[in-house]
Symmetry: C2
Subunit: 267 residues, 2 copies
Protein backbone atom coordinates (compact mmCIF):
# COMPACT_ATOMS: atom_id res chain seq x y z
CA UNK A 1 0.00 0.00 0.00
CA UNK A 2 2.80 2.36 0.93
CA UNK A 3 4.65 1.31 -2.17
CA UNK A 4 1.63 2.02 -4.32
CA UNK A 5 1.33 5.55 -2.92
CA UNK A 6 5.04 6.11 -3.23
CA UNK A 7 4.89 5.01 -6.84
CA UNK A 8 2.25 7.64 -7.52
CA UNK A 9 4.67 10.37 -6.43
CA UNK A 10 7.00 11.97 -8.95
CA UNK A 11 10.36 10.24 -8.88
CA UNK A 12 13.68 12.02 -9.29
CA UNK A 13 13.61 10.73 -12.88
CA UNK A 14 10.27 12.40 -13.45
CA UNK A 15 11.69 15.61 -12.05
CA UNK A 16 14.56 15.35 -14.48
CA UNK A 17 12.21 14.83 -17.38
CA UNK A 18 10.55 18.21 -16.98
CA UNK A 19 13.80 20.05 -16.35
CA UNK A 20 14.59 22.54 -19.08
CA UNK A 21 18.00 24.07 -18.96
CA UNK A 22 18.67 24.94 -22.57
CA UNK A 23 17.27 28.45 -22.89
CA UNK A 24 18.56 31.62 -21.32
CA UNK A 25 16.93 35.01 -21.44
CA UNK A 26 13.37 35.87 -22.31
CA UNK A 27 11.18 34.58 -25.07
CA UNK A 28 8.01 36.61 -25.45
CA UNK A 29 4.83 35.46 -27.17
CA UNK A 30 1.81 37.65 -27.86
CA UNK A 31 -1.55 35.84 -27.84
CA UNK A 32 -4.74 37.50 -29.05
CA UNK A 33 -7.82 35.66 -27.81
CA UNK A 34 -10.67 35.72 -30.33
CA UNK A 35 -9.90 39.07 -31.96
CA UNK A 36 -12.90 40.32 -33.91
CA UNK A 37 -11.40 43.02 -36.11
CA UNK A 38 -8.81 42.19 -38.75
CA UNK A 39 -7.67 45.84 -38.68
CA UNK A 40 -6.70 45.44 -35.04
CA UNK A 41 -4.76 42.26 -35.80
CA UNK A 42 -2.82 44.13 -38.51
CA UNK A 43 -2.18 47.06 -36.14
CA UNK A 44 -0.91 44.64 -33.49
CA UNK A 45 1.57 43.19 -36.04
CA UNK A 46 2.88 46.69 -36.76
CA UNK A 47 3.25 47.55 -33.05
CA UNK A 48 5.06 44.24 -32.48
CA UNK A 49 7.55 44.96 -35.24
CA UNK A 50 7.99 48.54 -33.97
CA UNK A 51 9.21 47.17 -30.66
CA UNK A 52 11.13 44.16 -31.93
CA UNK A 53 8.69 41.30 -31.24
CA UNK A 54 7.61 38.66 -33.74
CA UNK A 55 5.89 35.68 -32.09
CA UNK A 56 2.14 36.18 -32.55
CA UNK A 57 -0.53 33.56 -31.85
CA UNK A 58 -4.25 33.98 -32.52
CA UNK A 59 -6.91 31.93 -30.75
CA UNK A 60 -10.00 31.41 -32.89
CA UNK A 61 -9.67 34.76 -34.71
CA UNK A 62 -11.77 36.58 -37.29
CA UNK A 63 -10.89 36.17 -40.97
CA UNK A 64 -7.77 38.09 -41.99
CA UNK A 65 -7.84 39.90 -45.33
CA UNK A 66 -6.72 43.08 -47.08
CA UNK A 67 -7.51 45.43 -44.20
CA UNK A 68 -5.29 43.45 -41.84
CA UNK A 69 -2.51 43.70 -44.43
CA UNK A 70 -3.01 47.45 -44.81
CA UNK A 71 -2.86 48.06 -41.07
CA UNK A 72 0.19 45.81 -40.66
CA UNK A 73 1.99 48.19 -43.05
CA UNK A 74 5.68 47.18 -43.09
CA UNK A 75 5.05 44.26 -40.70
CA UNK A 76 3.75 41.84 -43.36
CA UNK A 77 6.27 39.24 -42.19
CA UNK A 78 4.67 39.11 -38.72
CA UNK A 79 1.20 38.83 -40.24
CA UNK A 80 2.27 36.03 -42.59
CA UNK A 81 3.96 34.03 -39.84
CA UNK A 82 1.11 34.32 -37.33
CA UNK A 83 0.09 31.00 -35.77
CA UNK A 84 -3.63 30.33 -35.55
CA UNK A 85 -5.05 27.82 -33.05
CA UNK A 86 -8.50 26.84 -31.85
CA UNK A 87 -8.01 26.97 -28.08
CA UNK A 88 -6.12 28.99 -25.51
CA UNK A 89 -4.43 25.85 -24.20
CA UNK A 90 -2.80 25.27 -27.57
CA UNK A 91 -1.48 28.83 -27.62
CA UNK A 92 0.06 28.41 -24.17
CA UNK A 93 1.87 25.17 -24.98
CA UNK A 94 5.49 25.46 -23.90
CA UNK A 95 5.01 28.72 -21.99
CA UNK A 96 6.42 29.11 -18.47
CA UNK A 97 4.54 32.22 -17.42
CA UNK A 98 1.07 33.28 -18.56
CA UNK A 99 0.30 36.97 -18.29
CA UNK A 100 -3.24 38.30 -18.68
CA UNK A 101 -4.09 41.88 -19.55
CA UNK A 102 -7.27 43.65 -18.58
CA UNK A 103 -8.89 47.07 -18.55
CA UNK A 104 -9.89 48.45 -15.18
CA UNK A 105 -11.47 45.38 -13.60
CA UNK A 106 -14.70 45.52 -11.67
CA UNK A 107 -14.26 45.14 -7.93
CA UNK A 108 -16.16 41.85 -8.00
CA UNK A 109 -13.79 40.35 -10.56
CA UNK A 110 -10.86 41.57 -8.50
CA UNK A 111 -12.31 39.94 -5.44
CA UNK A 112 -13.04 36.68 -7.11
CA UNK A 113 -9.64 36.24 -8.61
CA UNK A 114 -7.89 37.46 -5.47
CA UNK A 115 -5.14 39.02 -7.44
CA UNK A 116 -3.29 42.30 -7.47
CA UNK A 117 -2.93 43.92 -10.85
CA UNK A 118 0.47 45.10 -12.03
CA UNK A 119 1.20 48.14 -14.18
CA UNK A 120 3.21 47.63 -17.39
CA UNK A 121 6.16 49.31 -15.71
CA UNK A 122 5.98 46.98 -12.68
CA UNK A 123 5.71 44.08 -15.13
CA UNK A 124 8.93 45.23 -16.81
CA UNK A 125 10.73 45.21 -13.47
CA UNK A 126 9.41 41.72 -12.70
CA UNK A 127 10.78 40.36 -15.99
CA UNK A 128 14.21 41.95 -15.74
CA UNK A 129 16.14 38.98 -14.29
CA UNK A 130 14.00 36.17 -15.70
CA UNK A 131 14.66 33.44 -18.24
CA UNK A 132 11.88 31.50 -19.91
CA UNK A 133 8.98 31.71 -22.32
CA UNK A 134 6.31 34.25 -21.41
CA UNK A 135 2.89 34.48 -23.06
CA UNK A 136 1.06 37.82 -22.87
CA UNK A 137 -2.68 37.51 -23.50
CA UNK A 138 -4.95 40.21 -24.90
CA UNK A 139 -8.70 39.59 -24.93
CA UNK A 140 -11.62 40.27 -27.21
CA UNK A 141 -12.40 43.85 -28.28
CA UNK A 142 -15.77 43.87 -26.53
CA UNK A 143 -15.26 42.05 -23.26
CA UNK A 144 -11.58 41.19 -22.95
CA UNK A 145 -10.55 37.94 -21.30
CA UNK A 146 -13.15 35.81 -19.54
CA UNK A 147 -12.90 35.17 -15.79
CA UNK A 148 -11.89 31.60 -16.62
CA UNK A 149 -9.11 32.79 -18.95
CA UNK A 150 -7.88 35.28 -16.32
CA UNK A 151 -7.85 32.48 -13.75
CA UNK A 152 -5.52 30.61 -16.10
CA UNK A 153 -2.99 33.49 -15.86
CA UNK A 154 -0.10 33.62 -13.39
CA UNK A 155 -0.16 37.39 -13.22
CA UNK A 156 -2.42 40.10 -14.57
CA UNK A 157 -1.26 43.42 -16.03
CA UNK A 158 -3.56 46.42 -16.29
CA UNK A 159 -2.79 49.75 -17.96
CA UNK A 160 -3.70 52.63 -15.64
CA UNK A 161 -6.32 54.67 -17.52
CA UNK A 162 -9.09 57.19 -17.01
CA UNK A 163 -12.00 56.06 -14.83
CA UNK A 164 -14.31 57.67 -17.35
CA UNK A 165 -13.19 55.47 -20.24
CA UNK A 166 -10.62 52.87 -19.23
CA UNK A 167 -11.02 50.47 -22.17
CA UNK A 168 -8.22 50.88 -24.69
CA UNK A 169 -8.24 49.77 -28.28
CA UNK A 170 -6.52 46.36 -28.27
CA UNK A 171 -3.66 47.47 -30.52
CA UNK A 172 -3.04 50.48 -28.27
CA UNK A 173 -2.86 48.16 -25.27
CA UNK A 174 -0.37 45.91 -27.09
CA UNK A 175 1.70 48.94 -28.19
CA UNK A 176 1.92 50.30 -24.63
CA UNK A 177 2.84 46.98 -23.01
CA UNK A 178 5.47 46.23 -25.69
CA UNK A 179 6.82 49.78 -25.47
CA UNK A 180 7.40 49.16 -21.75
CA UNK A 181 9.06 45.78 -22.08
CA UNK A 182 10.95 46.30 -25.33
CA UNK A 183 14.69 45.77 -25.18
CA UNK A 184 14.41 43.48 -22.15
CA UNK A 185 16.88 40.65 -22.40
CA UNK A 186 16.03 38.95 -19.14
CA UNK A 187 18.54 37.24 -16.87
CA UNK A 188 19.41 33.79 -15.65
CA UNK A 189 16.60 33.30 -13.11
CA UNK A 190 15.14 30.32 -14.98
CA UNK A 191 11.36 30.22 -14.47
CA UNK A 192 9.79 26.90 -13.58
CA UNK A 193 8.12 25.61 -16.73
CA UNK A 194 4.37 25.56 -17.27
CA UNK A 195 4.60 21.75 -17.18
CA UNK A 196 6.28 21.88 -13.78
CA UNK A 197 3.64 24.22 -12.42
CA UNK A 198 0.85 21.95 -13.69
CA UNK A 199 2.45 19.02 -11.86
CA UNK A 200 2.87 21.12 -8.74
CA UNK A 201 -0.76 22.24 -8.77
CA UNK A 202 -2.04 18.71 -9.32
CA UNK A 203 -0.06 17.57 -6.27
CA UNK A 204 -1.40 20.45 -4.21
CA UNK A 205 -4.91 19.56 -5.30
CA UNK A 206 -4.57 15.93 -4.28
CA UNK A 207 -2.95 16.99 -1.01
CA UNK A 208 -5.95 19.21 -0.21
CA UNK A 209 -8.07 16.06 -0.52
CA UNK A 210 -5.78 13.95 1.64
CA UNK A 211 -5.77 16.49 4.47
CA UNK A 212 -9.56 16.83 4.33
CA UNK A 213 -9.52 20.52 3.45
CA UNK A 214 -13.26 21.44 3.34
CA UNK A 215 -14.52 20.38 -0.05
CA UNK A 216 -16.49 23.56 -0.73
CA UNK A 217 -13.32 25.61 -0.19
CA UNK A 218 -10.95 23.53 -2.28
CA UNK A 219 -11.39 25.27 -5.64
CA UNK A 220 -10.96 28.72 -4.15
CA UNK A 221 -7.99 27.66 -2.08
CA UNK A 222 -6.33 26.06 -5.08
CA UNK A 223 -6.94 29.20 -7.15
CA UNK A 224 -5.46 31.36 -4.42
CA UNK A 225 -2.38 29.14 -4.18
CA UNK A 226 -2.00 29.25 -7.97
CA UNK A 227 -2.16 33.06 -7.78
CA UNK A 228 0.46 33.28 -5.06
CA UNK A 229 2.84 30.83 -6.72
CA UNK A 230 2.23 32.33 -10.16
CA UNK A 231 2.87 35.86 -8.93
CA UNK A 232 6.02 34.71 -7.15
CA UNK A 233 7.36 33.52 -10.53
CA UNK A 234 9.21 30.60 -9.00
CA UNK A 235 12.43 29.28 -10.45
CA UNK A 236 13.16 25.68 -11.42
CA UNK A 237 15.23 25.25 -8.28
CA UNK A 238 12.37 26.53 -6.12
CA UNK A 239 10.01 24.18 -7.91
CA UNK A 240 12.15 21.20 -6.95
CA UNK A 241 12.26 22.32 -3.34
CA UNK A 242 8.47 22.77 -3.21
CA UNK A 243 7.90 19.39 -4.83
CA UNK A 244 10.30 17.80 -2.35
CA UNK A 245 8.31 19.21 0.54
CA UNK A 246 5.04 18.04 -0.97
CA UNK A 247 6.45 14.57 -1.50
CA UNK A 248 7.67 14.41 2.11
CA UNK A 249 4.20 15.42 3.34
CA UNK A 250 2.54 12.80 1.16
CA UNK A 251 4.96 10.03 2.16
CA UNK A 252 4.53 10.87 5.83
CA UNK A 253 0.75 10.89 5.52
CA UNK A 254 0.83 7.55 3.78
CA UNK A 255 3.09 5.98 6.40
CA UNK A 256 1.02 7.32 9.28
CA UNK A 257 -2.07 5.92 7.62
CA UNK A 258 -0.37 2.52 7.69
CA UNK A 259 0.52 2.99 11.35
CA UNK A 260 4.19 3.07 10.41
CA UNK A 261 6.15 5.37 12.70
CA UNK A 262 9.61 3.99 11.90
CA UNK A 263 10.24 7.13 9.83
CA UNK A 264 10.49 9.11 13.12
CA UNK A 265 13.57 7.15 14.07
CA UNK A 266 14.92 7.26 10.54
CA UNK A 267 14.97 11.01 10.39
CA UNK B 1 19.77 108.49 -31.25
CA UNK B 2 20.28 106.82 -27.91
CA UNK B 3 16.69 107.57 -27.03
CA UNK B 4 15.47 106.06 -30.28
CA UNK B 5 17.35 102.85 -29.59
CA UNK B 6 16.21 102.83 -26.01
CA UNK B 7 12.65 103.26 -27.17
CA UNK B 8 13.00 100.22 -29.35
CA UNK B 9 13.77 98.15 -26.25
CA UNK B 10 10.95 96.51 -24.35
CA UNK B 11 9.83 98.73 -21.48
CA UNK B 12 8.85 97.43 -18.08
CA UNK B 13 5.26 97.97 -19.21
CA UNK B 14 5.80 95.74 -22.21
CA UNK B 15 7.21 93.11 -19.88
CA UNK B 16 4.11 93.39 -17.75
CA UNK B 17 1.86 92.97 -20.75
CA UNK B 18 3.16 89.54 -21.59
CA UNK B 19 3.18 88.37 -17.99
CA UNK B 20 0.73 85.59 -17.34
CA UNK B 21 0.25 84.63 -13.75
CA UNK B 22 -3.25 83.23 -13.72
CA UNK B 23 -2.79 79.56 -14.48
CA UNK B 24 -1.19 76.93 -12.34
CA UNK B 25 -0.46 73.39 -13.30
CA UNK B 26 -0.34 71.87 -16.76
CA UNK B 27 -2.64 72.32 -19.68
CA UNK B 28 -1.94 69.84 -22.45
CA UNK B 29 -2.98 70.19 -26.08
CA UNK B 30 -2.61 67.52 -28.75
CA UNK B 31 -2.00 68.82 -32.28
CA UNK B 32 -2.16 66.54 -35.32
CA UNK B 33 -0.46 68.12 -38.32
CA UNK B 34 -2.18 67.23 -41.61
CA UNK B 35 -3.48 63.77 -40.61
CA UNK B 36 -4.43 61.80 -43.70
CA UNK B 37 -6.54 59.00 -42.26
CA UNK B 38 -9.82 59.68 -40.49
CA UNK B 39 -9.52 56.30 -38.74
CA UNK B 40 -6.32 57.48 -37.09
CA UNK B 41 -7.96 60.71 -35.94
CA UNK B 42 -10.77 58.69 -34.34
CA UNK B 43 -8.26 56.33 -32.72
CA UNK B 44 -6.36 59.33 -31.33
CA UNK B 45 -9.62 60.63 -29.77
CA UNK B 46 -10.14 57.29 -28.05
CA UNK B 47 -6.54 57.16 -26.72
CA UNK B 48 -6.91 60.74 -25.45
CA UNK B 49 -10.06 59.89 -23.53
CA UNK B 50 -8.46 56.69 -22.20
CA UNK B 51 -5.77 58.79 -20.55
CA UNK B 52 -7.88 61.78 -19.50
CA UNK B 53 -7.02 64.32 -22.23
CA UNK B 54 -9.51 66.31 -24.29
CA UNK B 55 -7.91 69.26 -26.11
CA UNK B 56 -7.39 68.16 -29.72
CA UNK B 57 -6.42 70.48 -32.60
CA UNK B 58 -6.11 69.43 -36.23
CA UNK B 59 -4.03 71.36 -38.75
CA UNK B 60 -5.40 71.05 -42.28
CA UNK B 61 -6.78 67.52 -41.75
CA UNK B 62 -8.48 64.99 -44.01
CA UNK B 63 -12.27 64.86 -44.04
CA UNK B 64 -13.75 63.25 -40.92
CA UNK B 65 -16.68 60.89 -41.40
CA UNK B 66 -18.19 57.65 -40.16
CA UNK B 67 -14.91 55.75 -39.86
CA UNK B 68 -13.45 58.42 -37.57
CA UNK B 69 -16.60 58.08 -35.43
CA UNK B 70 -16.31 54.30 -35.34
CA UNK B 71 -12.67 54.38 -34.26
CA UNK B 72 -13.34 57.07 -31.63
CA UNK B 73 -15.74 54.58 -30.01
CA UNK B 74 -16.82 56.08 -26.67
CA UNK B 75 -14.81 59.27 -27.25
CA UNK B 76 -17.38 60.97 -29.52
CA UNK B 77 -17.22 64.08 -27.31
CA UNK B 78 -13.52 64.59 -28.10
CA UNK B 79 -14.17 64.10 -31.81
CA UNK B 80 -17.06 66.57 -31.80
CA UNK B 81 -15.11 69.24 -29.95
CA UNK B 82 -11.98 69.00 -32.07
CA UNK B 83 -10.67 72.38 -33.30
CA UNK B 84 -9.66 72.53 -36.95
CA UNK B 85 -7.26 75.23 -38.19
CA UNK B 86 -5.41 75.93 -41.43
CA UNK B 87 -1.88 76.52 -40.13
CA UNK B 88 0.40 75.26 -37.38
CA UNK B 89 0.83 78.80 -36.01
CA UNK B 90 -2.90 78.99 -35.29
CA UNK B 91 -2.77 75.70 -33.40
CA UNK B 92 0.11 76.92 -31.26
CA UNK B 93 -1.55 80.21 -30.26
CA UNK B 94 -1.37 80.62 -26.50
CA UNK B 95 1.03 77.70 -25.98
CA UNK B 96 4.11 78.13 -23.80
CA UNK B 97 6.01 75.02 -24.82
CA UNK B 98 5.91 73.31 -28.19
CA UNK B 99 6.88 69.65 -28.22
CA UNK B 100 7.54 67.79 -31.47
CA UNK B 101 7.42 64.03 -31.84
CA UNK B 102 9.35 62.03 -34.36
CA UNK B 103 10.23 58.48 -35.32
CA UNK B 104 13.89 57.58 -35.27
CA UNK B 105 15.37 60.61 -37.00
CA UNK B 106 18.04 60.34 -39.66
CA UNK B 107 21.48 61.40 -38.51
CA UNK B 108 21.44 64.34 -40.90
CA UNK B 109 18.19 65.72 -39.45
CA UNK B 110 19.63 65.26 -36.00
CA UNK B 111 22.72 67.15 -37.00
CA UNK B 112 20.86 69.98 -38.64
CA UNK B 113 18.48 70.62 -35.79
CA UNK B 114 21.24 70.26 -33.21
CA UNK B 115 18.88 68.74 -30.73
CA UNK B 116 18.87 65.81 -28.39
CA UNK B 117 15.74 63.71 -28.48
CA UNK B 118 13.96 62.84 -25.27
CA UNK B 119 12.14 59.60 -24.49
CA UNK B 120 8.50 59.84 -23.34
CA UNK B 121 9.63 58.91 -19.85
CA UNK B 122 12.26 61.69 -19.79
CA UNK B 123 9.58 64.05 -21.08
CA UNK B 124 7.33 63.09 -18.17
CA UNK B 125 10.10 63.94 -15.71
CA UNK B 126 10.67 67.30 -17.43
CA UNK B 127 7.00 68.24 -17.06
CA UNK B 128 6.62 67.21 -13.43
CA UNK B 129 7.12 70.62 -11.78
CA UNK B 130 5.91 72.81 -14.66
CA UNK B 131 2.94 75.14 -15.05
CA UNK B 132 1.73 76.35 -18.44
CA UNK B 133 0.17 75.28 -21.71
CA UNK B 134 2.03 72.59 -23.62
CA UNK B 135 1.32 71.59 -27.23
CA UNK B 136 2.40 68.13 -28.36
CA UNK B 137 2.67 67.79 -32.13
CA UNK B 138 2.25 64.60 -34.13
CA UNK B 139 3.05 64.69 -37.84
CA UNK B 140 1.67 63.19 -41.04
CA UNK B 141 1.33 59.42 -41.37
CA UNK B 142 3.81 59.24 -44.24
CA UNK B 143 6.60 61.65 -43.34
CA UNK B 144 5.90 63.06 -39.91
CA UNK B 145 6.77 66.66 -39.11
CA UNK B 146 8.81 68.68 -41.62
CA UNK B 147 12.26 70.00 -40.68
CA UNK B 148 10.72 73.47 -40.50
CA UNK B 149 7.99 72.28 -38.12
CA UNK B 150 10.54 70.49 -35.94
CA UNK B 151 12.63 73.67 -35.85
CA UNK B 152 9.55 75.42 -34.45
CA UNK B 153 9.54 73.00 -31.47
CA UNK B 154 11.20 73.71 -28.14
CA UNK B 155 11.90 70.07 -27.48
CA UNK B 156 11.54 66.87 -29.47
CA UNK B 157 10.31 63.55 -28.09
CA UNK B 158 11.04 60.26 -29.81
CA UNK B 159 9.72 56.83 -28.84
CA UNK B 160 12.56 54.31 -28.71
CA UNK B 161 11.69 51.63 -31.27
CA UNK B 162 13.20 48.87 -33.36
CA UNK B 163 15.85 49.96 -35.87
CA UNK B 164 14.23 47.62 -38.35
CA UNK B 165 10.87 49.43 -38.32
CA UNK B 166 10.84 52.49 -36.08
CA UNK B 167 7.79 54.26 -37.53
CA UNK B 168 4.73 53.78 -35.32
CA UNK B 169 1.14 54.23 -36.31
CA UNK B 170 0.27 57.79 -35.26
CA UNK B 171 -2.46 56.72 -32.82
CA UNK B 172 -0.02 54.27 -31.19
CA UNK B 173 2.50 57.10 -30.78
CA UNK B 174 -0.18 59.30 -29.19
CA UNK B 175 -1.30 56.45 -26.90
CA UNK B 176 2.25 55.78 -25.68
CA UNK B 177 3.10 59.44 -25.03
CA UNK B 178 -0.20 60.06 -23.22
CA UNK B 179 0.18 56.83 -21.25
CA UNK B 180 3.53 58.17 -20.00
CA UNK B 181 2.31 61.64 -19.07
CA UNK B 182 -1.20 60.83 -17.89
CA UNK B 183 -2.04 61.90 -14.37
CA UNK B 184 0.63 64.63 -14.36
CA UNK B 185 -0.61 67.68 -12.55
CA UNK B 186 2.52 69.80 -12.95
CA UNK B 187 3.80 72.23 -10.34
CA UNK B 188 4.35 75.93 -9.87
CA UNK B 189 7.38 76.45 -12.10
CA UNK B 190 5.55 78.82 -14.46
CA UNK B 191 6.95 78.45 -17.98
CA UNK B 192 7.75 81.63 -19.88
CA UNK B 193 4.95 82.11 -22.41
CA UNK B 194 5.35 81.52 -26.13
CA UNK B 195 4.89 85.28 -26.59
CA UNK B 196 7.76 85.98 -24.20
CA UNK B 197 10.02 83.53 -26.02
CA UNK B 198 9.19 85.12 -29.38
CA UNK B 199 10.16 88.52 -27.99
CA UNK B 200 13.34 87.07 -26.50
CA UNK B 201 14.35 85.43 -29.78
CA UNK B 202 13.66 88.60 -31.78
CA UNK B 203 15.97 90.50 -29.43
CA UNK B 204 18.65 87.85 -29.73
CA UNK B 205 18.32 88.01 -33.52
CA UNK B 206 18.76 91.77 -33.62
CA UNK B 207 21.66 91.53 -31.16
CA UNK B 208 23.43 89.05 -33.46
CA UNK B 209 23.24 91.75 -36.14
CA UNK B 210 24.51 94.49 -33.85
CA UNK B 211 27.56 92.50 -32.77
CA UNK B 212 28.37 91.57 -36.38
CA UNK B 213 27.99 87.84 -35.87
CA UNK B 214 28.92 86.39 -39.31
CA UNK B 215 25.83 86.68 -41.46
CA UNK B 216 26.08 83.16 -42.91
CA UNK B 217 26.09 81.74 -39.38
CA UNK B 218 23.22 83.78 -37.93
CA UNK B 219 20.34 81.46 -38.76
CA UNK B 220 22.12 78.41 -37.41
CA UNK B 221 23.25 80.23 -34.29
CA UNK B 222 19.75 81.52 -33.64
CA UNK B 223 18.30 78.05 -34.11
CA UNK B 224 20.84 76.62 -31.72
CA UNK B 225 20.06 79.26 -29.11
CA UNK B 226 16.33 78.56 -29.54
CA UNK B 227 17.05 74.88 -28.98
CA UNK B 228 19.06 75.50 -25.84
CA UNK B 229 16.56 77.95 -24.35
CA UNK B 230 13.59 75.84 -25.41
CA UNK B 231 15.09 72.71 -23.90
CA UNK B 232 15.88 74.57 -20.69
CA UNK B 233 12.14 75.34 -20.37
CA UNK B 234 12.79 78.72 -18.78
CA UNK B 235 10.42 80.24 -16.23
CA UNK B 236 8.85 83.69 -16.41
CA UNK B 237 11.34 84.92 -13.82
CA UNK B 238 14.27 83.61 -15.86
CA UNK B 239 12.80 85.26 -18.94
CA UNK B 240 12.84 88.66 -17.21
CA UNK B 241 16.44 88.18 -16.13
CA UNK B 242 17.54 87.21 -19.65
CA UNK B 243 15.66 90.15 -21.15
CA UNK B 244 17.29 92.44 -18.60
CA UNK B 245 20.74 91.23 -19.62
CA UNK B 246 19.92 91.64 -23.30
CA UNK B 247 18.62 95.17 -22.69
CA UNK B 248 21.79 96.08 -20.78
CA UNK B 249 23.94 94.80 -23.65
CA UNK B 250 21.91 96.74 -26.19
CA UNK B 251 21.95 99.96 -24.17
CA UNK B 252 25.69 99.68 -23.62
CA UNK B 253 26.32 99.04 -27.31
CA UNK B 254 24.17 102.02 -28.22
CA UNK B 255 25.96 104.31 -25.79
CA UNK B 256 29.41 103.18 -26.90
CA UNK B 257 28.39 103.78 -30.49
CA UNK B 258 27.64 107.39 -29.50
CA UNK B 259 31.02 107.71 -27.74
CA UNK B 260 29.23 108.00 -24.40
CA UNK B 261 31.25 106.39 -21.61
CA UNK B 262 29.50 108.13 -18.70
CA UNK B 263 27.71 104.85 -17.97
CA UNK B 264 31.02 103.45 -16.67
CA UNK B 265 31.01 105.98 -13.83
CA UNK B 266 27.30 105.60 -13.26
CA UNK B 267 27.54 101.92 -12.53
Amino acid sequence: MIEEKADAEPTEEEFEEVLILDDKGLNLRIVLVEPESEGNVGSVCRAMKNFGFNDLWLVNPCKLGDFAKAMASHAQDILEEVITVGTLDEALQGCDLVVGTTGKPSESTRQHLRTPYFTPSEFRTMLEDKAGRVAILFGREDFGLSAEELARCDIVVSIPASDEYPILNISHAVAIVLYEISGLEGGDFRLASGEMLDLLYSHIESLLGEINHPEHKRDKTLLMLRRVIGRAMISQREYFTLMGVLRDIELTLARMEEGDTSWVENN
